[in-house]
Amino acid sequence: MIDRVQGVRPPRASRVILRIFARVRHSEALLGDLDEEFTQHIVPARGPRRARMWYRRQVAGSIPPLLRAAVDSRRGPTEDRRDNLMQSFFQDVRYSLRGVKRNPGLAAVIIVTLALGIGANTILYSVVDGLVLNPFPFPDEERLITVGTEYPKLGAPLNFVEHMSPAEFEDIRDGVASLEHVVAWDMGNRQVAWGELTDNFFTGFWWGNAFDALGMAPFLGRGMTLEETIAGDPVAVVSHRVWQARFGADPDLVGKTLGVNGNPYTIIGVMRPGSELYGLDLWIPMGVSPEVFPRQRRQFQILARIGDGYSHEQVNAELEVLARRTELAYADMPEYEGWRLRAETWTEANVRAIKPAAYVLLGAVLFVLLIVCSNVASLLLARSTQRRREMAVRTAVGAARGRLVRQLLTESVSLALVSGLVGILLAYVGTSAVADILAGVPFLPGSVELNVRVLVFAVIASVTAGVLFGILPAVRDSRGEIHGTLKSEGLSSTGSGGRLRLQRALVSVEVALALILLVGGGLLINSFSRLTRVDPGFDPESVMSMRITLPWEDYDGPAIAAFFQTLEEQVEAIPGVEAVGRGAQFPPIAFAFRRVATENQQVVGEGQLPTAMTTLASPGYFDALGIPLKQGRNFSDTDVEGSPLVAVINESAVDLLFPDGNAIGSRVRVGEDADEPWFEVVGIVGNTLNNGLDQVAFPEVFANHRQVSGWSNQMFVLVRTSVEPYSILPAVRSVVQSIDPDQPLYRIQTVSEALAGSVAPRRVAAGALSIFAAFALILAAVGIFAVVSFAVGARTREIGLRVALGAGTGQVRAMMIRQALVPVAIGALVGLGGALALSRLMAGLLFEVRGTDPLTIALVAALFGFVALVASYLPARRASRLDPVEALRLD
């Protein structure tokens, strides 16, 4: 126990925060006290986890008194100082309200733009919070881990799903001391009968009690015990969402009976909301002990908790030792050479895919808020003529500058908080819209909602925005140049020169930020449009897909083949159907990958067999999808169970397995086991983008499902139609009913929809970033327009003079535009540099487009140049039309 707690350190973030706030004389002693107490007393007494909680509580409780002490000591020990602060604060708020009353239009403009900016940020943050930062409700999430495997020698990247064998699970459970509650599960579909209803549930088959690993009790009832899961007791746990949607939120559901593939199971528990793992709606026992599986059957995944007193690093160190030990013990299994086991938190493992897009969008929307801030700052600077008079008067009657800055900042922060409130209301609407959209994306963990964390973010964003846009005008306006201001009332054009300079600098900032967003948006749109135009290698239009899973309890191999043969024949007879086939997977749905051997195989790589997608299909599969036959023959009706096994492979598999040609007539074997049967290659089909539209065509080996129907009981039925695809659905349903009324159709969608779904995250990212970029462009244009207008106003007399001295309208206009475009050009240069630097962060989101894509950048620059020109032309035209007599008389 003692040496286990030795290495426990105080939580780092809290420590840093405390250092920042501890501004008292003896802050060093304070930090020392806290560390000493933590390591010497609290950790041994309460354990590392609760000790860290204690530390955080101490820090949180310390900050307010320390802050007060710091303020008091700076101001001397007067007791009524704080009352003064409060008083002056309310005074400032009153002033701000008065200011709003005086100029309601300006306040409205500021509040609306800021509210849009803060609202957009809040929505995006709620997405990041719900999907990336806190997607799961599990307590102590940073200690809930899953273990991934990586085979660098095979080029197989870190994988956490359907990747681990039962033997490897047992090695980890029994051989890694720093992990506890190690559980494993497999996933598949089960037919569920409930009263009159049948449905198909995505089901997990477990070893061990998942609730122990998750660290939470079930919503109702209990979890399964390890003994039950090995013995295969007929007990079941259902998800909270099906409890609500399918079982009418029955509070007495526990103890009732559910039919699972025709067998009665007793429901013993209901999961908590949001705790479905990979979308599982039903948990049942695995029913056998891990030993019955061969060591290479890698289709499981695991969950575990880091034991008290151990760190994440210690777990990984132990896993590394285990990996090396396994490599030595199984020298006959070459895949173990150099393999790695790696623990990641469950959250991290689940958010890897969407994290980059989420952060790019959050960054983009923060940029929008920055642009809004500089725009508002610019507006406030423009209004400051009257403000400076007020400030000068207050200075004249004795107000200190710090007091004035505080008043002006209170004003801007109050404005920002009001905007934040409106923004939160906008976000409230927006977030539920986003949540609705995201509800349709399968396997997305977490949910999007306005929770406390999001609200805190919105308030922080508002206050920061208020300070950001307020600070420049506040410092500038509080200068209180009494004499100049009170005397001349801004008559001279030079008096506004400084402000104009600041406004121009703000325009540069806006332009730079907007350009970065435009380039980012342009790159994503470009990528997305390339992705949708890419040739998938088959014809996805007008093809319906639906899945059927036949229960093993009622169907053996021949019965499965018979069921699907009959189904295909009868569906083909439906009017409007052009072709019917079935396949275990179809592009872009890809999950079955196996090692493939050929006869006389040269040793590949490190003595390894290459990997191919292995797809069970029927003869009609290629016609239904429109995949062209390039050579040899398709499966035929003479290939039946018992006749010589045949295979069709794609061109990419030819390159991989038969680089010398002569594929037809050669034999391939699926799986590493020498006992697996050989298949004769009889045909070669064209490549499809079978592994996702953004990936290259993967080598694929097709076997005839009719010959090996015992290999898979779940198939997609693919129907090519000459009519609207969905219109044939009732007829297909009644065919299935006539063969076996208990079999439901599920995962019903057209193949085009499946393809569109596979690129949905990119579509969302491209769409959202474009909206932000458009918003940024409009804001930047408004900023340019405002600055040129202000310049024209400030220089009216000078312009009048120039015109009176003979300057032509064209000359005046050109001068004004030229001057307006200088800050735009500076900002554009900075922005392009920033875009080039930042586009590297987006590399993972791009497809066939590089971050430095010249066409995108040229188009964006041209668009921006045009907008900048228009935005400065409009006010410049006004200047050139000035009547010199009027302009000069303007005193």
């Binding site: 501890a22 003896h26 930090l31």
Partner: protein
């Protein structure tokens, strides 16, 4: 500015803890002592903020102690009450005593209940 005459409640509590520890009280020990006697959770920051204020007013004095590795090399700081501090504590107690004199809250609340 007016000089503060009476101690705040937490100031009194802290000063009394310093007295209890009899010159051996450093921040965390003082915090522990307050927690143990008052049965409420106290943050170390509140203790130090108060000690600093008391030191500024001259009610306590402090000296640096040993520095040990568990503290990351940061020395403990021991606090001791000063004569002024004693005086202030006594004044505060006397003031409270004189205010409490003749007050019997338990009796008063019982009486209130009977009326209700």
């Amino acid at each position: 500015m007016t000089k503060r005459k009476f101690l705040g409640e937490f100031e009194q509590v802290t000063l009394l803890a310093v007295v209890h520890l009899n010159g051996e009280g450093y921040g965390m020990a003082i915090r522990r002592s307050i927690e143990a006697r008052t049965n409420r959770e106290v943050s170390i920051g509140a203790v130090y903020a108060t000690l600093e204020r008391l030191e500024t007013k001259g009610y306590v004095s402090s000296r640096a102690g040993e520095s040990i590795p568990e503290r990351g090399g940061r020395a403990r700081r021991y606090f001791e009450i000063s004569p002024n501090g004693r005086e202030a504590l006594i004044r505060s107690r006397d003031m409270l005593d004189s205010m409490w004199d003749g007050v019997d809250l338990e009796a008063a609340s019982d009486a209130g209940q009977e009326v209700a």
